[in-house]
Symmetry: C2
Subunit: 147 residues, 2 copies
């Protein structure tokens, strides 16, 4: 599998998580953590279901991955998430020393890059725009349904 397909494949898994959030009437954002080509954890936004403003997809995926490895550092891992992380989630990635972050579509309102690019760990690689249209479309249709 070439690199482009590899990246798309995991973003597609994050999109499946976003769809699970959509089906629960949660803001549809999904994430997976990958290490050596294997999915270590997967999660979707559950802030309403859990009544917890910290229950973003990325936070849960990081907690689960750290638990799996029995260590706090995810420097060998890539986190795929459908939407650009907020400062809270980017701050969690800092503590995990995340190896690489791949996100689908930007969040011009509350994405970490809007607030400060210094939130992420300096060693974390960043790639974006993967399946951006699909990642954006599911969010747009969620908010259209809400209106």
């Amino acid at each position: 599998m070439n690199r482009e397909n590899y990246t798309k494949r995991f973003m597609f898994e994050a999109l499946k998580e976003a769809q699970k959030a959509f089906d629960k009437d949660e803001v549809p954002i999904g994430a997976v953590v990958v290490c050596n080509g294997q999915i270590i954890s997967r999660a979707h936004n559950l802030t309403e279901t859990l009544t917890d403003p910290t229950a973003h997809a990325e936070m849960q995926a990081i907690t689960a991955a750290s638990n799996y490895f029995g260590g706090k550092y995810l420097n060998q891992c890539t986190l795929f998430v459908t939407v650009e992380p907020c400062p809270m989630c980017a701050g969690a990635m800092y503590w995990a020393q995340l190896g690489k972050l791949v996100y689908g579509t930007p969040d011009p309102k509350r994405g970490f890059t809007v607030v400060s690019t210094k939130i992420l760990h300096p060693k974390t690689e960043v790639e974006n725009g993967i399946l951006a249209e699909d990642c954006s479309k599911i969010i747009t249709s969620f908010f259209q349904k809400k209106r």
Copy 2:
């Protein structure tokens, strides 16, 4: 009880939490969430115990308080924490629309104000320097012990 004693009283409760972390060999930071003069939740750093880089005192205190209220917003609450919050925790306070943040001692390395003051919600009031010496001393003695 006058305002100064009120604030010190709750910071002292946060310090008690920090001591619990110290006793577990965790970086000694503690937090309490207060609403109408009542402590709603209390927590201390558990990142090592839980193998979870997101298990900061503030994160747990916010999750527990939201759970208690059955709502994601803590705009009527004050969070007392012994050390200046990091960007992750300040980002969580943003989503909770925290009413007020009171912290003891600054964190010149990774405090949110070092990274960006835009991380907090614009409506969140901030006060600091409460029992600063005690809040700082417990951290210093923890790292001295580690050396």
